[in-house]
Amino acid sequence: MRVAVPLDDVRPGEGRLLVAGRRRVALFLTTGGPRAIDATCPHAGGPLQDGIVSGARVTCPLHLRRVDLDTGEVDDCAERVRCYPARVAGGHVVLDL
């Protein structure tokens, strides 16, 4: 599904949790553009939208695992989080979930 989130709903550098049905998605406005990933850290279920974003990585606030926003790779973890295409258009972030 394609969704559009008003840019004003997201603070640059701080994530926002989106809920679509059962899916929880963390949306970030990074210096490299918008990024969207599954919001649940595969390590212990931490809320990735609340992590510190540095460059293209977010650090889970619970146990400091880092998640790559471009690839979904997680520190010390075989499992990846899902990444969703995101772009800015007309004052919105357009996401394909």
């Binding site: 559009a4 510190i52 540095s54």
Partner: protein, 804 residues
Amino acid sequence: MTAPGKRLAVVGNGMISVSLLDQLVRLESRWRISVFGDEPHPAYDRIGLSQVLAGDRAADDLPLRDRDWYASHGVELHTGCRVLALDAERCRLATARGDVDFDACVLATGSLPFVPPIPGAGLDGVLGFRTIEDVDAMLERARTGRSAVVIGGGLLGLEAARGLLARGMQVTVVHLVDRLMERQLDDGAAGLVREELERMGLRVLLPASTRRIEGEGRVEAVVLDGGAVLPADLVVICAGIKPNVALAAAAGLDVGRGVRVDDRMATSAPAVHAIGECAEHDGVTYGLVPPLHEQAAVLASQLAGDGAATFRPLATAARLKVAGIDVFAGGRTTPEAGDQEVLLRDDGGGVYKKLVLRDDALVGVALVGDLGPMAAVSDALTRGGRVRDRLALLGVGAAVGPPPGADLADDAVVCGCNGVTRAAIVAAIGAEGGCTTRECVARRTRASSSCGSCAPVVDGLLQLAGMGRAAAPDAPDVCTCVPLPRAALRERVLGLGLRSVSEVLERLGDGVGCHRCRPALSYYLDVWWCGEHREEPASRHVNDRVHANIQRDGTFSVVPRIRGGVTSPAELRRIADVAERYQVGAVKITGGQRIDLLGVRKEDLPAVWTELGMPSGHAYTKAVRTVKSCVGTDWCRYGVGDSTDLAVRLESALEGLYTPHKLKLGVTGCPRNCAEVTVKDLGIVAVVGGWELYVAGAAGMTVRKGDLLCTVATPEQALEEAAIAVQHYREQAEYLERMYHFVPRVGIEAFRAATVDATAGARRGLLERFRRSRDNARDPWRSVPASDPSRFRAPLALAEEPAP
């Protein structure tokens, strides 16, 4: 001078070949360059082989340039391609892969180990020390063999011996002459070096000459003149080098010990030049690197520049680093008649410094154990000229002098291994280069990346540029993202007026930072600016963005401040009401005498705070947490001091201050210590006639009884000492360093000297900065949500098919 499109063939691909290519690239020469090397890899740092042998450096760190570099600069590189013949008349090379025509040719064929005619030198296990392959073979032997004999006690031989010693072999050095490194060292310096080497476990035999090497197919022993037999699983011959002149000699060039060249590095054949260890200039061949870089620069100028440069040999000195021993020597270290000598010698301290002068000019130097004066001495030796203050040149009477490198000329070569001048290093440090650390300078210029002897000068130049590295050589960098020690960072942050984390990262760091340094920088900026910094929540842990403690399920806990643990029925009722209204998951009394409401949703936090009407307890962050107390004299029949009153006053005085790590305090009314204050970061005990202050107690991951800091008479004095101690901790500890780590690290005596026993001025300064920080502290539960409610929004619910 540039010949567009003409072909330049460079025979040899070692350090000096690369040095020439560098210069040609810099001069934007239009030569079409081909480089032929008979080793299979691109050029590498041969000086670093000793470090690889000793295990101090990885072999894959040695390459000077990768293949991409050659390609991107249009240089054709032929590795593993031996040049078989040079036809100087037809301007043609015969290589293993066919003939190559050239318009100009450079011989940079270097040298080969000199193998004396010792019977048995051809046995398996007898090696030279010249190439990566030699090192690999030595390491292979070191894995299985026990004993090694190094033939030759010169610079290279001692490096080899030290490396093999580090690899666990029993090593004997056999040297023909009666002192080590006799070409560089006088008796005094050589004797000291020998003592140090023997202390390290090396066996040194001299004067001793090798009669033969024995073994059945592979080496088993070395037999000396006189008959002594040294068992050996490995023999390394470091008996000197001989210029590699075979190609030139076969081509009919004028060859002596090396390929003879003039001041412009031209050989006897018109289109052929020679540089490096293979070249002989004015009857001399060179083995140390600095004059060889000079030769490369001269030739580059001839080939692609204005051709004005000519080779003028300079006196040079060499540095040898054998484990802990620093040696630096050059010129003539044994005086001749008419020379003057300056000698400083400390046998017990392992220091020996000697200057040899002729007509007031420096002609020789030997330094052992303390290379502090090296940069200045090296420069004086190279430049010649009158030495005004000989003792100062040796560092005598100059304990507080300018940093090393301060008085070097711009074109003085700082890094002899890579031919890097002071000007090049200063450029790397300057506004355009942007380097703030030695590692950065090494990456950009290669200075200090080979033998490392110029590291103090690089540090000195960094220090001169305000980077402060040399001021605290042992202090760790704040982070790899911000490669400066904390003290240097503080100076630059305050000097440049940087008040936000992003400014600091942009100006002094990598522009991005990480989850470790950004919260640390957030803290440091707060304390350095006494709260007058610019807060950036994106650099804070979520706890500090929303002022609550995140729980494993993503909800938050709320702990209001209850000063001293003293509350009231009305307050308890309000807390109960809020807990019910927001259906909190649990209500818990904490170890610090507080009430914890667990399971609050992020979007409910502002309303919960408003309805509680209580200040933040800061239980979610690195800050002043709680002051625990007992009921003291008000109620307790044993109490000797009013601990509850002092606890409330102490908490009011400190609350809202951020600290390197959490800060838990306590005040107890008598030595029975019901408030358990001797295991707090700061604890106060009422005793008859006064109050005792303890710091650095712990009862968490570690258990530690606090150190008695001082005893004072009145509660007011106790408050003042506590404020000074806390401010000192705030300013001096690393971020995330608990009081119980900080105080043992610096020592309670030093802590006391910096607080209780500090000068009146220092104490006033601490108190003033404490008050400024305190005045700038805002209760985050009242100020932040009002100014920025958007952070506390509920998750954004998305419909199935919203319109874009």
